[in-house]
Amino acid sequence: MNTRISRSLVVLAVLSIAMVISPAVVSYPTGISGVKDSGCNCHGAVVSPDVAGSISGLPDQYNYSEEYEIVVSFTGGPANAANSNQGGFNLWVSDGELVPSDATVQAYGVNEVSHTEAGNDQTSWTLTWTAPSSDKNVEFVLHVNSVNGNADGNNGGSSGDMWNRLSAKVSPPILVLESADPFVVLSTLILVSAILLAITLTYVFYRTNPESFTWDNFAPWIAEWLTTTDHKKIGTLYFVAGMFFLGVGGIMAMMIRIQLSVPGNDFLTQDQYNQFFTLHGTTMIFLAAMPLINGFANWMVPLQIGAPDLALPRINAMSFWLQPVAALLIFTGVFSGSGADTGWTGYAPYVVSETAHMGTTMWVAGQIMLVASSTLTGINFLTTIAVMRAPGMGWLQMPLFTWSILIANLMLFLSIPAFGIGLIQVYLDRVIGTAFYDVSAGGDPLLWSHLFWYFGHPEVYVVIVPAFGVISEVIATSARRSIFGYRSMVYAMAGIGVVSFIVYGHHMFTSGMSPTLRFVTMLTTMLVAVPTGIKIFNWLKTMHGGSLVYRTHTLWTLGFLVTFTLGGISGMFFPSIAMDLHLHESYFVVAHFHYVLVGGTVFGFYAAIYYWWPKMTGRMMDERLGVIHFLTGFISYNALFWPMHRLGVWGMARRHHTYFVSTEEAMGALPIEAAGWNMFVSVSAFLFFFSNFFLIANMIKTVIRGEKAPADPWGGWSFEWMTASPPPTPSFDPHNLPELKDANEHIANEPGTLGKLFNRLMMSEDEEVAH
């Protein structure tokens, strides 16, 4: 009974807060977007329905190139004739030309007009609109500002002033279909995906017990998912969120590719394009790759080390729930048409300049929450792996996937505070007006680059290292061998972890950073090749003398070896500064990091999906669909990203809304072939996008009617294969933990140098009792 009351109280509280928020949300300044608003020097921020603007003289349907005299006026608000001035306006039109009729009106370009100082003291203005010469759906956007006149000049005293907005449409002589606004397309697609996801979830619930498909049963079921602290359920939540945002990021990538398919395209406006690539980067790294990794880490780490759960289960739930809320904040700006347009790196001073969109603040706020989430995740996994290994499992007997999660979290955990502080500085700059990145006050824009890349470089390894772990597991199991050079694998990963902190300057070779540091990081960056080389050769050697069983996860692993090697090789070009000066910020960079992030991380985690799906769901995946997925995916992936290397060397710049090929009159741009290659890339991009539907189909199909999976379908050795598929809760009985045996006898009695050191530092057994 008590719980019921407190639950209702909280629901009430949330509802009342929602009611408080809702009117505020309507007037949130991000609601009005760039171009149409930039000319509005409106006084006061109060939107008021009392002010009514009107545009008279507009036809319903225009004639080609005809001139229309239109009158803009408004009524209401504090304006009255006794004031020293009464108001102003801003009118924007999508097509045709606006020309002022007298000195009270001034033009900003051909499609925007506003009042002049002479036109301050009136409530109606006259101007001329020349209709376009072709068929267009013309849109007018009018802002009117009603002023009480206590302001002298342009600044100050704007209290009590009100403004409002009005839009009008004029049709062409021959009706044309309205072209879709890409934002509407994106929002619709996201909404449709979310609805599909909801339907799928409901269906999953229905499947659990078709007889009890009622609200009374559904409420506790959904509450269980919302409140769970079980590592497997949170892992699943991460996984679902990650897949959803992988789709969202993919949709944005497709729109980017449509835009770039032909030179000089205008499918997206510059403004939209800038937001799309920013959101694509942020979504893919923070909302897709990291949740997918965390999903598998949550699922597998406790199972692999023989622990009942993570060390801090409730903190783990907190890590997850920060993410969807953060995602909402990050996307707030996009839904109102003024999302962050800074690139995922968000370089200062642009990120704190007023030319960057309003949504940037929310984008920063969302990322602050993601930083908090990652820190909590880091604490949890580091602690779990350090303290909760089952008896008999020393450091050098941990499965390599667990090792990779340990190293990745260590890197993330120690680097992300720098990013968090940078974000907080930007947030405060944008909100309360501190001056960390205000150059005119002496701020240093490179400080942000430093803080960002101190985090950013380890971060890109954070998303690739877990994939190394997956590949190590899969290739050993598939080749039916133990992994070659287990210890060198571990040391190589640890080496990558340490090196990642001292190389970040290579992202800033062309910035104004200290040249000494540029030189130092040029030397260290080359070092990354050594541990990665060791890993690739070890994987290859693992297959030697084995008996490679071809399953879908084996195929993805071999695919990973190909693409990751290529991505690694192209990475070698960057530390060579004379080359980097050309390649920096070109499509060569785009090709490189998609080769390692898609060909590395995503392929690695596709392998992980096929490998661990039976363990997670208790159902075997469909191998035939899997092979089709691999073939279509792998081929289209390479067709998508390989040509980008060449485009980059030719001179196609990253983050450019469009590109142009050399013409007779203007030589020296991209060669003419570049247009063809871009079209090829775009087509391949769509193929790659759609190839992933085979994976989705496979997942849905196997969950509904897949073959039941045995406990150890592939013949692995680590603890997760010991439990049932799917595993029970808690995963292992805390009073009866499994014990790891070792096929190599010598280790148990003879600790190595590090082991001896640890033994000296550790609590001795008898002290432990006394404690």
Binding site: G512, M513, T516, R760, L761, M762, M763, A770
Partner: protein, 117 residues
Amino acid sequence: MASYKILGRDPYWMNFYGLMILTLIEVLAVGYELPEERIFIFSNYTLMILTVIAIPKFIMIGMIFMHLYGSPDSGILTVTALFPAFFIIIMILFIGLTHPEATTGLPEWCRPGYYNI
């Protein structure tokens, strides 16, 4: 909980006295240089005193109050506490102590010519 003594007394109290004295010295060191008449206030000398005093304070709080000394688990927790040292040094060196400059300012020792190659 501490199972040892400092000078035959309770370590928490002794540590507490020590910290109070050190802080007092710190404030007095600044007070000694308080500028009433001068405009250039602090010498690096003051900074040196402050840094030198901060180090024992650090160690005293860490070892005695945070039990990094004298408990059965002190050894391994000290290693944990010192683990980020490398990353802290890197950050201070790379971020705190570098300054933007044009590439023409590349120091001589970073050029191959310096080593006759």
